[in-house]
């Protein structure tokens, strides 16, 4: 597992989301300019794991967004790690996470 996700972005479309697996994991959403706007996870209560989580994202967002996923049973700690990495790299949380931040996020200073 790469510390920082480096998979290519996929357009957030119904066809792409339908191909997603039902497994648990984390995902990132980027806007049309490539800026990461949301980091989230598909957890143990999701209906169809990453697929249903991304279906919800698709329904809530205008066209033009992109996504990438990582299947990960340790979705909760990986989610927190991705948020901390984003904060360490850019100085702030992704826009949508900043609007609803997790209660207690730590601080990392990655190499």
């Amino acid at each position: 597992m790469q510390l920082r996700p480096d998979k290519p972005w996929t357009p957030l479309t119904a066809e792409a989301v339908a191909r997603l697996p039902g497994q648990l994991g984390v995902y990132q959403i980027a806007d049309a300019d490539g800026a990461v706007v949301h980091i989230n996870y598909a957890g143990g209560r999701s209906r169809f794991g990453l697929r249903s989580a991304l279906e919800d994202e698709l329904a809530a967002r205008p066209a033009g967004h992109r996504f990438r996923v990582e299947i990960n049973m340790q979705y909760m700690t990986r989610y927190q790690e991705l948020l901390m990495l984003h904060q360490a790299d850019t100085g702030s949380l992704p826009r949508d996470n900043a609007a609803n931040p997790p209660p207690r996020l730590g601080r990392l200073s990655p190499r």
Binding site: G43, G44, Q80, M84, P102, P103, R111
Partner: protein, 388 residues
């Protein structure tokens, strides 16, 4: 010795049991199965309740403002508090308050003002930094992080691994070698603030405990003043050891609580589930699993309460704490494993808490001194070489 709770203890147990069933379980049912935190509003509301129960700050010694509860009663309550999905590592989601690090009760007055009291008030959080990549079972020999004298202070260089909560803490207790020529007599304990230049939380370490992570730390020319030495120079190992021994009792109690919860689920399920024309509970194979659960739980409970009772009386309890930690972590894990087996496929799902307990309970055989180290401590007593 009779460990049946007194009337007063039973009343407290009933109160905490009700709290877990009526307050924690309904909220937990709505959280992600790997969650370890409540919504802040729920947390604040429940803290008010534990304060009203007179049990907030349960681990804070009475002289520092905590409730007047002896360690045996505390152990009985810890068994109750762990009986929910997140209960092993986040009993009641911290709504009974934390005590911070036990070593700080040994701090000097200035350190108590700067660290202990803010921690007791819930304003500061701390981490415990002992384990290094070179090993955690035998820290007296393994610690390579060194601190060298400079400008009325010390320069720390080295790294730590598996340190829980360091990224969220305002400070931590860090063990470093200050005299390379001595083994356990060459280690000093330092209090390091999170914002000290040269202190870095380098990465998250993901483990089976996927609800919360550990971290890896780096110290790079990290200068701390003499005021940050906790206890005496070169006497840090005793500070670590004392804490580890004490910590083994609540650690064991948490394992027992989870084992009881898993066992109760298994009993209930075995009475409902029918296969081949009869209930599982009618099958001897299943009955024996339940009996083995019962034996593991009772054994661990007796040994843990015995250790607590010795600690309460102020007599040496290192061997008893080791026996408690060993029986509770190994027995508790077996109980969860058997309970999963009795549940069949359902036992493996995230619908039930068993799979989380299974993963987290596995860590308990390594954390706070692995089983082999506990056996070593007990062997010393058995062979008459224990240094108390």
């Amino acid at each position: 010795m009779d460990f049946d709770p007194s009337d007063e203890q039973q009343m407290l147990i009933d109160n905490v049991r009700r709290f877990v069933r009526e307050e924690i379980l309904p909220l937990e049912a709505k959280l992600d199965p790997d969650a370890s935190e409540l919504d802040p509003k729920d947390h604040a509301r429940l803290v008010e309740k534990t304060k009203a129960m007179g049990l907030y700050g349960i681990d804070i010694p009475h002289e520092f403002g905590g409730p007047d509860i002896d360690i045996v009663t505390r152990t009985l309550l810890a068994i109750e508090m762990a009986q929910h999905r997140a209960g092993l590592y986040a009993p009641c989601y911290g709504t009974f308050g934390g005590a911070g690090l036990a070593q700080l009760f040994e701090a000097n007055e200035d350190q108590k003002e700067r660290y202990l009291f803010p921690t007791l008030r819930g304003e500061k959080k701390a981490f415990f930094g002992l384990t290094e990549p070179s090993g955690g079972s035998d820290p007296a020999r393994a610690i390579r992080t060194r601190a060298e004298r400079k400008d009325n202070g010390w320069v720390i260089n080295g790294s730590k691994i598996f340190i829980s909560g360091a990224d969220r803490a305002q400070y931590g207790i860090v063990f470093a070698r200050t005299d390379a020529s001595k083994g356990r007599g060459g280690i000093t304990c330092f209090i390091v603030d999170h914002d000290t230049p040269g202190f870095h939380v380098r990465r998250v370490v993901h483990t089976l405990r996927s609800s919360s992570y550990a971290t890896e730390l780096e110290f790079k020319d990290c200068w701390v003043s003499d005021h940050q030495v906790l206890g005496e120079v070169n006497k840090g190992f005793a500070v670590a050891n004392d804490r580890l021994t004490r910590q083994r009792i609540p650690y064991a109690a948490g394992c027992i609580g989870v084992a009881i919860a898993a066992h109760e689920m298994a009993i209930e399920w075995s009475k409902m589930r029918e296969t081949f024309g009869a209930r599982l509970s009618d099958r001897q194979a299943i009955q024996w699993m339940l009996v083995d659960n019962e034996l593991d739980i009772r054994t661990a409970r007796l040994f843990t309460l015995q250790a607590a009772e010795k600690a309460r009386r102020g007599v040496p309890f290192r061997t008893e704490a080791a026996i408690a930690k060993l029986t509770a972590s190994e027995g508790g894990w077996r109980v969860v494993d058997r309970s999963m087996q009795i549940h069949g496929g359902m036992g493996m799902t995230k619908d039930l808490p068993l799979e989380r307990w299974y993963r987290e309970m596995r860590i308990r055989r390594v954390g706070e001194g692995p089983s082999e180290v506990q056996r070593m401590l007990i062997a010393r007593e058995v062979l008459g070489t224990s240094v108390r």
